[in-house]
Symmetry: C2
Subunit: 254 residues, 2 copies
């Protein structure tokens, strides 16, 4: 079996944030598979390269299709935004391998990492991830809201900086507001909250607010929500958005 | 004031994992400042570019020096490995700005994100960060061991996948072992642990083990330690290292 499959992270949007290793993996592929808007970001790499665009909600079908192509001898690139290992396609590919035919385990499978949304968002606003932090997806397509609630509570108990991925969608418009309610039970109203939309795309927009005042309706699927720890601070600037950072020196309250 | 300062993430090691945006920022700088081994990774960008190599433990001095150069009109690049916002130089720069002269707030300050060690390590071994996860630095240079302990316990309470940065050093050889002791109080001995050394450098070495059997003496400063959630799994392969992944579909035990 000579086929290969590489799960490629495009990074957050701007072409200059796609690693050369990811670009090389795309150029070498015979077949590109991914959510349409991600494929649209890729400049035609080579003549004869086949593109398989899919919807956003069919990750496991897309993974199986990619593995079948690889098993037939193709060099397949499965395309993700950001980093493929963070709430993206890599886990779906390994789920499909584990449940699939034994021969898929003999394929040459690689993952090309990328700049994930929380790193791009952090870089746009300062250094909010300067202390310990956690990343939580608010999507309950694949886990229960009870699990998400317990994760949010644990994040408060540890006073982590929190990065929320997939904060809401048309199918689940209320989840971000519910998450803020849970966080407000454990964290001060003055806690820094920044909603960063389209970080690293060249079209970034940010809303800097607090846990007491945040309006979840201002977020959408392209928003990464950062919630500070007790140590996270603003540096004000004349006529410009403040920088947000978490000092490296920090102590939890007793 | 016309100077600028960009905190640049080189990524985990291989030149192909440095973003074009980071490379461009390095090429445009008049002055490069950073820990010597990071500067050594940068190919000479332009004639007349000045390099200021420093030790590993003087982040705040290095940040102030960089800001003084920028305030004097230079285009300064402060160089970090990985992503500069994750346990690296970006937070030190903003700490220095907040404590420094008001004119530093008028400087053009940017952060160029990069592929941080946990993303590179995850990509080398599968998709261990497929669920919710947290990142904790074990260095107690700047926070107490009590704070670190509480973070580790919260990570267990939330059943996060855990990425441990700075697991130990010559000055603090016992901390990783103590961290495993804390985790063992809350997590099963069968919990997946992977120690990934020099991920993304082309010289990666990995040790796949369990929380019950892990030997902390096998880690060093270049090791990223990944500890699975209850959902994290191995996919075995004939004659090769297993893939490690965390399924997207997961539930906490009641």
């Amino acid at each position: 079996m000579t086929g290969s499959l590489t799960v490629v992270g495009l990074g957050p949007g701007r072409a200059e944030l796609t690693t050369p290793a990811a670009s090389a993996a795309l150029a070498q592929a015979t077949d590109l598979i991914g959510y349409g808007p991600y494929l649209d970001r890729i400049v035609a790499a080579s003549a004869g390269q086949v593109r398989h665009a899919t919807g956003n909600r069919v990750e496991l079908d897309r993974a199986r299709h990619a593995l079948e192509l690889a098993a037939s001898g193709k060099s397949v690139a499965v395309v993700s935004g950001g980093d493929p290992g963070v709430f993206a396609m890599a886990a779906a590919v390994f789920e499909a391998i584990e449940a699939g035919p034994a021969e898929w385990r003999a394929l040459d499978i690689r993952v090309e990492p990328g700049v994930t949304a929380m790193l791009a968002a952090a870089a746009e606003i300062g250094a909010p991830l300067g202390g310990d932090f956690c990343a939580i997806s608010l999507s309950d397509n694949l886990k229960s809201w009870t699990t998400i609630t317990r994760r949010l509570e644990a994040a408060c108990a540890g006073d982590f900086v929190v990065a929320l991925y997939n904060p809401l969608s048309k199918a689940r418009p209320h989840q971000l507001g519910e998450a803020f309610e849970i966080l407000r039970r454990h964290k001060a109203p003055s806690t820094v909250v920044v909603m960063v939309r389209a970080a690293g795309s060249g079209e970034m927009r940010r809303i800097t607010t607090t846990l007491g005042e945040v309006n979840p309706a201002q977020a959408d699927m392209r928003t990464l929500v950062l919630i500070g720890s007790t140590a996270t601070r603003l540096i004000t600037r004349d006529g410009r958005e403040p920088w947000i950072y978490t000092p490296r020196r920090e102590e939890l309250a007793p």
